[in-house]
C-alpha cells in the first residue's frame, strides 16, 4: 500500500479522545506564481475534512487555500479507548484519501 497522506494520532485522556492529524498536501491558493515561468500555479487545496468516531461524525472542517501547506489539525471529543477514528479529506481537484485507526494505534 502506498504511503498514506495522513498521519493520525489519537490518545485517550480522562474520557476525552485527543485527535491530531497531519495531512501531506501542497495547499496551493491559486494566487502564487511559479518563479521560473511566471505563470500562476493552479489552486489545489483541501476543501473538506471529515472525522468520524465509530461512523459518527465528530468534526467537519471546510477549508480554503488560507490553510497552510501540509495542514495540521488538532481537537478532542468525548469518547472511549475502543473508538475507531476515521479521517477523510477531499480536495478541489476531486482527490481524496482516508485513514482509520483505533484510538492509541500508531
Amino acid at each position: 500500500m502506498a504511503k498514506s497522506t495522513i498521519k493520525l494520532r489519537t490518545k485517550e485522556k480522562g474520557g476525552k479522545i485527543q485527535v491530531k492529524a497531519l495531512i501531506t498536501h501542497p495547499m496551493e491558493t491559486g494566487l502564487r506564481k511559479d518563479k521560473k515561468t511566471g505563470k500562476k500555479i493552479p489552486e489545489h487545496y483541501i476543501t473538506e475534512v471529515v472525522v468520524t468516531a465509530n461512523g459518527k461524525p465528530v468534526l467537519t472542517a471546510n477549508w480554503s487555500g488560507s490553510v497552510s501547506k501540509n495542514p495540521f489539525l488538532s481537537f478532542s471529543y468525548a469518547g472511549t479507548k475502543d473508538d475507531k477514528v476515521k479521517l477523510t479529506w477531499k480536495d478541489n481537484t476531486g482527490k481524496s484519501d482516508s485513514i482509520e485507526k483505533k484510538v492509541g494505534e500508531k
Binding site: 491558493t29 468516531a53 465528530v58 467537519t60 472542517a61 471546510n62 477549508w63 488560507s66 490553510v67 481537537f75
Partner: protein, 154 residues
C-alpha cells in the same frame, strides 16, 4: 450656540448615514450573484460576514484565540481557537487581510470539544477573527498577528 447646533446636526446626519448604510448592506443579492454565495470565495471580511449572515455577531470574551503576536513565517501560523460558549456548533476562522479571508469552518458533532488547533497562511499582518456559532447566534473575537515575512507568494 452655533457650535452646539452644528454638532447636533452632524451627529444626526451621521446617524442617518448609518441607517442608510445598514439598509444597503442587508440584502446580499448582488454578492450572491458574484460569487455563487460561497463564503469561501468572498474577498473581504465584510463579505464573508454577510454571506454567513453573521454581521451582527456579538463580541464575546468566552472565545479564546491562541495565536502568536509576531509570526516570523506567515506561511505557517499556528492558531488555536477555543469556545466556552455553551451549545457551540461551529467555529469559523477568518484571516482578515488574506485575499480570501475565510480560512476554515469547523462543524462539531456530538461530544466534540469546541476547540481546534490548525495552521494558517497569512499574507501580511492581519487580524484573526474567530466566529462561533451557538444556537442561532454568532459570537466573535479577534486577535492581531504581525507577520514579518509573507506567506502568500512571498
Amino acid at each position: 450656540m452655533k457650535r452646539r447646533s452644528f454638532l447636533k446636526s452632524t451627529v444626526l446626519a451621521s446617524a442617518a448615514g448609518v441607517v442608510v448604510g445598514a439598509g444597503v448592506l442587508s440584502p446580499n443579492v448582488a454578492l450572491a450573484e458574484k460569487h455563487g454565495n460561497n463564503p469561501f470565495k468572498a474577498k473581504s471580511l465584510d463579505e464573508v460576514l454577510k454571506m454567513l449572515g453573521a454581521t451582527g455577531a456579538e463580541a464575546s470574551d468566552k472565545i479564546k484565540i491562541k495565536a502568536p503576536e509576531i509570526a516570523e513565517n506567515g506561511a505557517v501560523v499556528p492558531v488555536g481557537i477555543t469556545s466556552e460558549i455553551p451549545g457551540t456548533t461551529e467555529i469559523i476562522s477568518i484571516t482578515a487581510a488574506n485575499p480570501t479571508p475565510l480560512s476554515a469552518r469547523y462543524t462539531f458533532g456530538e461530544g466534540a470539544v469546541p476547540a481546534i488547533k490548525s495552521r494558517f497562511k497569512m499574507g501580511k499582518t492581519t487580524d484573526v477573527v474567530a466566529l462561533v456559532k451557538a444556537g442561532d447566534k454568532y459570537y466573535t473575537a479577534k486577535a492581531n498577528v504581525k507577520v514579518t515575512k509573507g506567506g502568500c507568494g512571498g
